[in-house]
Symmetry: C2
Subunit: 456 residues, 2 copies
């Protein structure tokens, strides 16, 4: 391992230069005019995979942008790790807010500035370089590797789920390694072991069959905005507890180990309040902020609209009002079941004086990889070797549906080992990735393959 | 009187032809390109007033479109009536929905189709012809007349209030006669004796200082849409009773005479429900629909918006949510006082976890002219002679701020004696006015001047 780390260290400046080539390809998945660049980027990756020792590489066509796939199954008796990442990037608008052109990478103050520097080119490039180092020094990889880098993550991976389902055997593995998340703080090695799920609903309330004059009709007929507001107020009590019967039935409590981990983390409600400019935080009573964010389900209106929404006053009694309401879910809540409970409850509290339509817009399952599990333990050991520091375990309040798909379809644990920071401005102008975190990513990846090969 | 009515009857066909000239002038007040037509219409009216016996006529410039004014004060010892109307009309869009061109009047099935046929050219033309008849037959008017026909009603009469205030003496009168409302049903002579007032408010709720990802932040911080919904739900209880302390303090109860009048009216909740396609009506418990519409205050959300309002799902935890909420007021509620009570209550129920800003967008006072008053009695007698039927007394749920201005500034009762129908499609394509209602308007006007001259 020492040699491998030295190799990575000594070649790091060259690796950064090489990384810039990858960053210069404007592989924006959402733009039609970037189709050629996307394809160029896929070819670039395929060549790269060949050059670092993969004999089997493929560009796999989908209905959208291609998947780049490589495998090396030449370590009989050793476990198999599937690395997932994406080579497509977000658009760059508003481009005038960038301090340097988004596809002309530049280092300033120890940070690499470019679209994709963190998300996700930088994070998957770390694995590429660690594999290269293994191959250079040992002449082979220490375990079986499957590399799957897709080109549609930033547009919601529309073709990946189908690909996973039809390629279960091809992709079979012992763990899925994903570096697409953030560290808890700079320099703090972090494993993300849980993601919340989602049930996203829409309520449409219809009162009278047309917009009415609120003077001529007000007082005679129910107002759909008032009724919708009343219904929303019944979804949650004043202490943040969701009132849908059965909603909490399947919620797994936070384990003592998790609770201890969360308590040990450096988190300040005061700082958080200041950052968001609110006088008080709010959420389900009886839980800390981190528990509420990571391990408790929530209910939020994501949007509401009805009637006159322009400037000034218009005296309309609207015919319709609509709210978009999503619930973040935690294990073992099932999005379909929650959507049904929500629908039943809303229909129950809806008064006869209005018509109410509830729509299940979409959902995703929550996932937790227990921190006591073998795969997480191995990843921790690797990170601690690379950083020389104790690992921190986090969960994520958001949902990454494709992670759940991997876990469920391949029946393997996902290891979310990210090297970005929340402050890296991914999806925004001036996206960047710390040079040192790129290096830590390479080291961590190299140690991980060693640990996983020996201990899984 | 018989001669006057005969004159109107015998000349009616010619009157209709003459009316068409008035209708042909496209006096749309909101369009810049109609400025010349507006001025043409004002001149047309001034000439008309001269021709029917007014020695004193004026075109009075304002900051916008001119007011046409005429007076005849040659009946010493007799009371003075001020007639208010407007010669400007609504735009005609969407013009393709008209069955005949909006400024080429046409009679079909006993209805005159044209923009302004009812609102308000038809209704003020009835008075013009009745005055002409008086002048032709008697050589003079039976009382003192002031005629004020403005050109900016359809854009909110921005210059009239100032004009009233600076011309109190010039406009001094014993009653203001306004024909700009509807009859309760076709053939039913109607006096509108009350208008509701208005307090129109906006609530803006701010949570976090920026839109957040509802996954990454949901559960930690109050959601402004949820909070706004909760506040709205506290404005009114499940029985439609407004919960703002002091809100009902100044509300005058419906008098026994009014209650009797409302009960006697032909009003069907079943028909009303069917028309609006609702299963149940809703409003303040303990009052009939007509009471709730005419004589009770209300609270309606006119608009609400916040967060993502497009199609599909976006997982935002919005920074802001806004609602527009108006209250219709009845005597003796004061819009400024109600706005203050509303503001105080909303601030009281607003939780510390969000910032709440309440804005008083605008207001208007309610008005009631008691049905027992002399002026209303005289108007009733006139209408009953013209129609040969008992008068019906209505109130209007909406607000006509300028009526209140007349009543308050001139300290005179307003007589709202309208000849339109709710179904006349004013402000819409195919606006029309029934030929017979134009005639009834002329007769009623003629009788009114006689009755008022003799009995006030």
């Amino acid at each position: 391992m020492e040699k491998i780390i030295s190799y990575l260290e000594n070649n790091f400046d060259n690796s950064v230069k090489e990384f810039f080539e990858y960053l210069r390809i404007p592989s924006i998945s959402t733009l039609d005019e970037s189709k050629d660049d996307i394809r160029l980027c896929a070819s670039y990756l395929q060549e790269k995979f060949k050059s670092i020792g993969f004999k089997h590489t493929e560009i796999i066509e989908t209905e959208g942008h291609p998947i780049v796939y490589a495998e090396s199954l030449e370590a009989p008796g050793k476990p198999t790790v599937l690395i997932y990442g994406h080579y497509d990037v977000q658009p760059v608008d508003p481009v005038e807010l960038w301090d340097s052109p988004p596809f002309e990478p530049e280092i300033r103050n120890g940070k690499i500035y470019a679209r994709g520097a963190n998300d996700n080119k930088g994070q998957n490039f770390a694995h590429i370089k660690s594999l290269e180092a293994w191959n250079k020094i040992e002449g082979k990889f220490p375990l079986n590797i499957k590399l799957l880098i897709e080109g549609e993550e930033e547009i919601g991976s529309p073709n990946l789920e189908k690909f996973l389902h039809t390629n279960r055997e091809k992709l079979a593995c012992d763990a899925v390694l994903i570096s697409d998340t953030s560290m808890y703080a700079d320099g703090v090695p972090t494993i993300n072991y849980g993601l919340r799920g989602l049930a996203y609903m829409e309520i449409e309330v219809t009162g009278p069959n047309r917009d009415l004059h609120s003077g001529s009709f007000g007082g005679a007929v129910a107002n759909p905005v008032n009724e919708l507001a009343r219904m929303i107020s019944k979804l949650q009590d004043e202490r943040g507890r969701i009132q849908i019967p059965g909603f909490y039935d399947d919620v797994l409590p936070v384990t003592p180990a998790e609770k201890e981990n969360m308590t040990s983390l450096d988190f300040s409600d005061e700082e958080y309040k200041k950052e968001l400019d609110v006088k008080e935080l709010f959420g389900e009573a009886g839980f800390t902020t981190l528990e509420r964010l990571w391990a408790r389900p929530t209910l939020d209106c994501n949007g509401i609209f009805g009637g006159f929404t322009g400037k000034g006053a218009k005296t309309v009694l609207p015919s319709k009002a609509t709210a978009k309401i999503s619930m973040r879910l935690v294990p073992n809540q099932d999005p379909k079941k929650i959507a049904q409970l929500f629908t039943d409850y809303v229909n129950k509290i809806a008064p006869d004086r209005v018509k109410v339509k509830v729509t299940d817009l979409h959902g995703g399952s929550p996932v937790v990889i227990p921190i006591e599990s073998k795969a997480i333990g191995i990843a921790s050991a690797a990170l601690e070797k690379a950083f020389g520091k104790k690992v921190v375990y986090t969960r994520e309040g958001g949902s990454i549906p494709i992670v759940v798909e991997f876990v469920r379809t391949l029946n393997a644990p996902a290891i979310l080992m990210g090297f970005g920071l929340e402050t890296d401005d991914i999806h925004s102008p001036n996206e960047h990735f710390r040079v040192n975190n790129l290096k830590m990513g390479m080291f961590s990846s190299a140690y991980f393959f060693d640990e996983f090969a020996r201990n899984f």
